[in-house]
């Protein structure tokens, strides 16, 4: 009784050629092989892209693998560097800092999670730093990097990593990949979105020069403009700025500190400032910098002044201002249009999650790819999963703001006093009591991520899990001492990050 694909998609139109548009094009190019589906991307050089978005998280390696991308070639083409985590400076209190590294902490012992063992040792009066038990963190602090091995007995197998890259070069890299596989690119400005009179489905895009681009499925990657999903289809926006009050950013590149021979730190840095925070992303040829801030507390001049006063080297361009509202499209998929990237909503780059959201949007779309009958089920499932994934990241970001003890500035006091979503409140309460963490619905962030930020933001559980009581304290002390030693020795044997890049993937 199955109805064979009577209406396979004939043409998929991607509107916009920023990171989101070209990621979608590269991934969907595999459909060109079926002989029926064409993939067309329209972009406007005149409008340009947002030009930021240069730090990623580890799952991007899965995306590269899906596309069959060679990692060294990709890094060389994008002036890319390796990222082992994010250093948060002054987020809990001025003068304090912590690193949120990738990968797990230590090894679980007899089914008891490692951070519980750490808590038990603390209770025994042995305050070992949790940081000593994460391979990425130990390496990051020494400025070293190496790729993990597959040998599970080696401490190096615990290491996980992501990348920093030049956003413009990344889009260009993906463009070459997509075009080589049959994606067609059109240059032009979209002037109008034409809807079907009865169904309200998008029928075509009219470019300002009059050309008509018709299609079956439209992917809105037009950035903050959200021309299709909002402009034409009125998806609606769920505003989260009462939880994440920053609404502006100013970005400026600067030279690589120390010149071409200078060290390259293998992590992103995020520094809390009076009404927002400053990022620093080290690339091979330059350093990306920016300030994310709240316009109710800071003028644009105050923000860019603070940014420019806190660079590692001379700026190499003019500061660029960006405005945004944090939140998501109520329905990221409406009728025959799916929004990806900034068109689907925005969460600040505190944990570098936007490109990841594009990536998982694409994999959901591939798994739920409709035919021309556009059954409601695919849409409903896509929207259901998207809402869950966004809310989980949202909660994680809110945690950074909520748990601050910076009494210094009104902005931070407001954040510390705000009510948070019930889902996050529950997580905090469970962790604050006994350090327990539960991962929901294939959540992106693992126990290690939550542990890093919860403890970094000053939440030290009152007690450890009673399960850890069954383990012998003296044995644990010795075992963990050996573990920390293994991490330290392994890190010392790694090359410095800049040397590793020079050897493997120099631009």
């Amino acid at each position: 009784m199955s109805e064979p694909l009577r209406h396979p998609l004939r043409r998929i139109v991607i509107a916009g050629g920023g990171t989101a548009g070209w990621m979608a094009a590269a991934a969907l190019s595999r459909l060109c092989a079926n002989g029926t589906t064409r993939v067309t991307l329209v972009e406007s050089e005149e409008i340009g892209t947002v030009g930021v978005g240069e730090a990623t998280i580890p799952p991007i390696k899965t995306f590269n693998a899906m596309l069959g991308i060679d990692e060294d070639a990709f890094l060389a083409a994008t002036q890319g560097t390796f990222k082992l985590g994010i250093a948060f400076e002054g987020w809990h209190r001025e003068g304090e800092s912590y690193l949120h590294p990738f990968g797990a902490y230590g090894a679980d012992i007899e089914g008891v999670k490692f951070h519980q063992i750490w808590l038990k040792l603390r209770a025994m009066g042995i305050p070992v730093p949790l940081a000593d038990f994460n391979m990425a963190e130990v390496a990051a602090r020494m400025g070293r990097f190496d790729r993990p091995t597959g040998d599970p007995r080696s401490a190096l197998s615990q290491l996980d990593y992501a990348f920093h890259f030049d956003a413009g070069l990344y889009a260009a890299f993906l463009r070459r990949h997509a075009e080589a596989r049959g994606v067609e690119r059109l240059e032009g400005r979209i002037g109008q979105v034409l809807l079907h009179g009865e169904t309200g489905f998008i029928e075509a895009l009219r470019l300002e020069d009059g050309r008509l681009i018709d299609g079956d499925l439209f992917i809105d990657c037009t950035g903050f403009r959200a021309l299709l999903i909002e402009g034409a289809l009125g998806s609606g926006f769920e505003d989260w700025s009462h939880w994440l009050p920053c609404d502006r950013a100013v970005a400026v590149p600067c030279a690589r500190a120390g010149g071409a021979a200078g060290p390259i730190l293998p992590y992103t840095r995020s520094t809390a400032r009076a009404a927002g925070w400053q990022w620093r992303i080290p690339l091979q040829h330059r350093t990306g910098n920016g300030m994310v801030y709240c316009s109710r507390y800071w003028s644009d001049d105050e923000a860019s002044g603070t940014l420019l006063a806190n660079l590692d080297a001379e700026p190499t361009g003019e500061p660029r201002l960006l405005r945004f509202t944090t939140g998501m499209r109520k329905q990221p998929w409406v009728k025959n249009c799916v929004a990806l990237g900034l068109a689907s909503g925005f969460m600040e780059p505190l944990e570098s999650t936007s490109i990841h959201l594009v990536q998982i949007g694409i994999s959901k779309l591939l798994a739920l790819l409709p035919d021309r009958s556009f059954p409601a089920h695919e849409r409903a499932e896509y929207n259901r999963l998207t809402a869950i994934q966004w809310a989980q990241i949202r909660d994680f970001l809110i945690l950074h703001y909520k748990q601050n003890a910076r009494g210094d500035a009104a902005f931070w006091q407001e954040c510390a006093a705000m009510p948070v979503p019930e889902t996050l409140e529950r997580k905090i309460a469970l962790f604050a009591g006994t350090g327990r963490l539960f991962r929901y619905d294939d959540e992106l962030f693992t126990d290690a991520n939550w542990t890093a930020v919860m403890t970094g933001q000053g939440i030290i559980p009152q007690a450890h899990d009673p399960l850890a009581d069954a383990l012998d304290g003296a044995a644990l002390r010795d075992m963990t001492a050996r573990m920390a030693d293994a991490f330290r020795r392994t890190a010392r044997a790694m090359p410095f990050h800049a040397d590793f890049i020079a050897r493997h993937c120099a631009a």
């Binding site: 199955s2 109805e3 694909l5 396979p8 459909l31 025994m124 035919d371 929901y440 009673p466 383990l471």
Partner: protein, 493 residues
């Protein structure tokens, strides 16, 4: 205070971890909780109180229907092992028999019996899941039996099985298996183990609330209440009889004839009858049988046995953990046992309590989280059970009525999404992952109306080659395995 407790390193704060645990009900559920708690949390002082002085002589309803055999799912065995109990002991003492899945007869309108195996089916082709490849092949006119690509099903067909060795890198390493055990023997095994780990017998107590005075935490493991709506006076209990209409169960166990008896088949069998269903779970040397039906319309052949039938009252309470009392197993929820999840759900309760065991006298945070997770697991088991009962192709008036019944939104959503395009909507708290759901839908005769677009981009030849490669590797793997009976005999020797 046990020797390894943190107390050895300094005084505990006054509001220290809950230490005195009283368990009400000495059935399988109660001793399961006692045994696992004692092994994981040696500092606890645990006392098990029978619910009545003659409890030992009554049917054990602590998991729901007092089935003669219960099944541990593949994931359950990991929890059993994590507690330090050995699978070999379960096999030796509980007439254990490996389980690779369930054969279903009469559940789909067309086609013969179906097999719902544990574990994976086939292998994905690039980014396309195996079941979508099958749908694409079918759309192109090929006749594909999905169970032919499930290792568990092949083993079940041939009666060959051995637990994979950890160093086995072949296709056999993906073999996923559960274990059937004799319920009462398991209860005794857990009881003896618990007693050996310091758990104590207490006096019979009818009302668990009366245990609160002498315990920090009370576990109610007495089985299902008379009615869910007024469970101990609580509000908000749910009665599920509309979608799980069978309210009687007859259970039996008979020894298999012959010396030695024939080896048990490594799977359960479930038949749909016009008035209900009948299940068979094999044990070493015995076959257990369950017949489930409605008292109002029993199958003709059982009318004489009606008085012996056990009551089945599907439903659940509003919250499992209230104040200092945690209801576990059937005391918190009861499903129609058609999906074989009674022991699994009780074990999940125990594992969850261990993961959330309060470190402090104030356990409101833990209780809220426990209830949330309990409810999610309960919802998922409900959906799986209800879809088996209400979206099948079985023949009979009761099934017609069930098929006509409206489903709750989320249950209907799962069905409708799969029926439309073969996607499985997964939620928190699933008992089964995608393959388990797919194989259940297959067994019920539900197939996606439309194949996956991505799968349709795979050329026919690539699909055929993929199928052949999988089948070949699997058959080669299965041929290397010994007969199931030989492995059981070896474990018991």
């Amino acid at each position: 205070m046990a020797a390894f407790g943190s107390g050895a390193f300094g005084a505990l704060p006054r509001s220290g971890p809950a230490e005195r645990v009283a368990i009400s009900g000495g059935g399988l559920c109660g001793w399961l909780a006692a045994c696992l708690l004692a092994r994981h949390l040696p500092h606890l002082r645990i006392v098990v109180h029978p619910a009545s002085a003659d409890e030992e002589t009554r049917p054990d309803r602590s998991l729901g229907v007092p089935l003669a055999a219960e099944v541990l799912l593949p994931g359950d065995l990991e929890h059993i092992a994590a507690a330090g109990l050995r699978g070999g002991d379960l096999i030796r003492h509980c007439r254990g028999s490996f389980m690779l899945g369930t054969a279903l007869t009469g559940w789909r309108a067309a086609g013969g019996p179906a097999f719902v195996p544990f574990g994976e089916i086939g292998a994905p082709l690039g980014p396309v899941p195996f079941h979508q490849i099958v749908a694409a092949a079918r759309a192109r006119g090929h006749d594909v039996n999905m169970a032919n690509y499930a290792l568990g099903a092949l083993c079940a067909q041939t009666g060959r099985f051995a637990p994979p060795r950890s160093d086995d890198a072949s296709v056999l390493s993906t073999l996923s298996f559960g274990l059937a055990v004799e319920s009462d023997a398991l209860r005794r095994l857990l009881r003896d183990d618990a007693l050996a780990h310091g758990v104590q017998h207490g006096e019979a107590v009818a009302d668990p609330a009366s245990l609160c005075a002498a315990a920090d935490l009370v576990i109610d493991a007495r089985g299902a209440p008379e009615a869910w709506s007024e469970n101990g006076g609580e509000q908000g209990g749910e009665d599920w009889s509309a979608l799980m209409p069978f309210d009687r169960a007859l259970v039996a166990k008979r020894a298999e004839p012959g010396t030695p008896p024939p080896p048990p088949p490594p799977y359960a069998h479930l038949s749909a009858l016009a008035e209900g269903w009948q299940g068979f779970v094999p044990l070493a040397g015995a076959m257990t049988e369950t017949l489930v039906f409605a008292a109002a319309a029993p199958p003709a052949e059982v009318t004489g046995a009606l008085p012996e039938a056990h009551r089945l009252a599907p439903g659940r309470s509003a919250a499992a953990w209230q104040g200092a009392i945690v209801r576990m197993g059937a005391a918190a929820q009861q499903h129609d046992p058609v999906a074989g999840l009674q022991l699994h759900l009780a074990l999940a309760d125990v594992v969850r309590l261990i993961a959330l065991f309060p470190a402090n006298a104030d356990c409101a945070v833990e209780a809220a989280e426990y209830n949330r997770q309990w409810r999610e697991r309960s919802d998922c088991a409900f959906d799986y059970t209800v879809l088996r009962l209400a979206r099948n192709g079985a023949k009979g008036a009761v099934w017609d009525r069930l098929r006509a019944a409206a489903l709750p939104h989320r249950t209907a959503y799962r069905h409708d999404l799969y029926a439309a395009n073969g996607r499985i909507a997964l939620h928190d708290g699933e008992v089964f992952e995608t393959p388990g759901w797919v194989m259940q839908f297959e067994a019920l005769g539900i197939r996606p109306r439309r194949p996956d677009a991505l799968a349709m981009t795979v050329p026919d030849m690539a699909i055929t080659a993929h199928f052949e490669a999988i089948r070949k590797a699997m058959l080669a793997g299965v041929a290397k395995l010994p007969p199931h009976g030989a492995v059981l005999a070896e474990v018991c020797a």
